[in-house]
C-alpha cells in the first residue's frame, strides 16, 4: 500500500465499482427482457437499481474525489453523487414494493409460477 498515491487508490476502487455496476446493469437489462412475467421481472429490477445504480454512483463519487483535473467542483460532484446514491438506496425498493402490491391487488399481472398463494385468501376476506 505504501507505493500507491491516494488519488490513484480512490480512482482504482471507484473504477472497479463502476465496472461491476455496469456489468450488473447489462445482466439486469437482459433479465428484464428475457424473464417471463412481471413478478419474476421484479428480481431483475432489483439488480438493476441497487447493483446497477447505487454501486456505480458510489464509485463515481470516489473517482470524482480522486480526480484533481476536475478542479474545485470535484467535491460538489462527489457530494451530489453520494446524495443521489442514498436517495436511490431508499426510494428504489419503496417504489418497486408499491408497484408490486398494486399489481397484485388490481390483478393486472398474473402470479406465476406459484406453489401456494396465501395472500389471495387474505385479500378476498378484506374485500368483502
Amino acid at each position: 500500500m505504501a507505493g500507491i498515491p491516494l488519488d490513484w487508490l480512490l480512482v482504482w476502487i471507484g473504477g472497479i465499482m463502476i465496472v461491476v455496476g455496469v456489468i450488473s446493469d447489462l445482466i439486469a437489462s437482459i433479465g428484464m427482457l428475457r424473464f417471463p412475467n412481471f413478478f419474476v421481472r421484479l428480481h431483475a429490477a432489483t439488480i438493476g437499481t441497487i447493483w446497477g445504480a447505487f454501486l456505480p454512483l458510489i464509485g463515481a463519487a470516489l473517482v470524482a474525489a480522486g480526480s484533481e483535473f476536475l478542479g474545485e467542483y470535484r467535491w460538489f460532484m462527489a457530494g451530489g453523487a453520494v446524495v443521489t446514491a442514498f436517495l436511490i438506496l431508499i426510494l428504489a425498493p419503496a417504489g418497486s414494493h408499491a408497484l408490486a402490491r398494486a399489481a397484485y391487488r388490481s390483478k393486472a399481472a398474473k402470479v406465476e409460477p406459484k406453489v401456494v398463494d396465501h395472500l389471495k385468501e387474505f385479500v378476498e376476506v378484506e374485500e368483502k
Binding site: V19, A45, V63, M77, A81, L87, L91, G95, L99
Partner: protein
C-alpha cells in the same frame, strides 16, 4: 505510465457502450411490456441507471451541471412509481 486524467477518460469510454446496450434492452421491454406494471418497472429501472450514467458523464465531460439532473431524475421516477401504483389500486390519480 499513463496520467490520471487519461486513465479515468479511458475507463468511462469503455463503460459508455455497455450502458447504451443496457438502455436499448430496457427500452425494448418498456415498449413491448404486455401490462402497465411491466412498462413502469422497465422505465423505473432504466431511469435509476440513467441517473448513474449522468453522474459518470458529468465526470467524463468535466461539467458539474449534470449532477443535480441525476437527483431530479431519481425523485421523478419514484413519483411515477407511486402514481401508477395508486392508479392501479384505486383507479384514481389523487387530487
Amino acid at each position: 505510465m499513463i496520467g490520471l486524467e487519461e486513465a479515468v477518460t479511458t475507463l468511462i469510454m469503455v463503460t459508455i457502450p455497455v450502458y447504451v446496450i443496457a438502455f436499448t434492452l430496457y427500452s425494448i421491454r418498456a415498449l413491448k411490456g404486455p401490462t402497465i406494471p411491466d412498462t413502469t418497472l422497465a422505465i423505473d429501472a432504466m431511469t435509476y441507471d440513467l441517473a448513474a450514467f449522468l453522474v459518470v458523464l458529468g465526470i467524463f465531460f468535466k461539467s458539474p451541471i449534470l449532477i443535480p439532473t441525476a437527483i431530479v431524475l431519481a425523485l421523478w421516477v419514484y413519483a411515477l412509481d407511486l402514481y401508477v401504483a395508486k392508479y392501479l389500486e384505486a383507479k384514481e390519480m389523487g387530487e
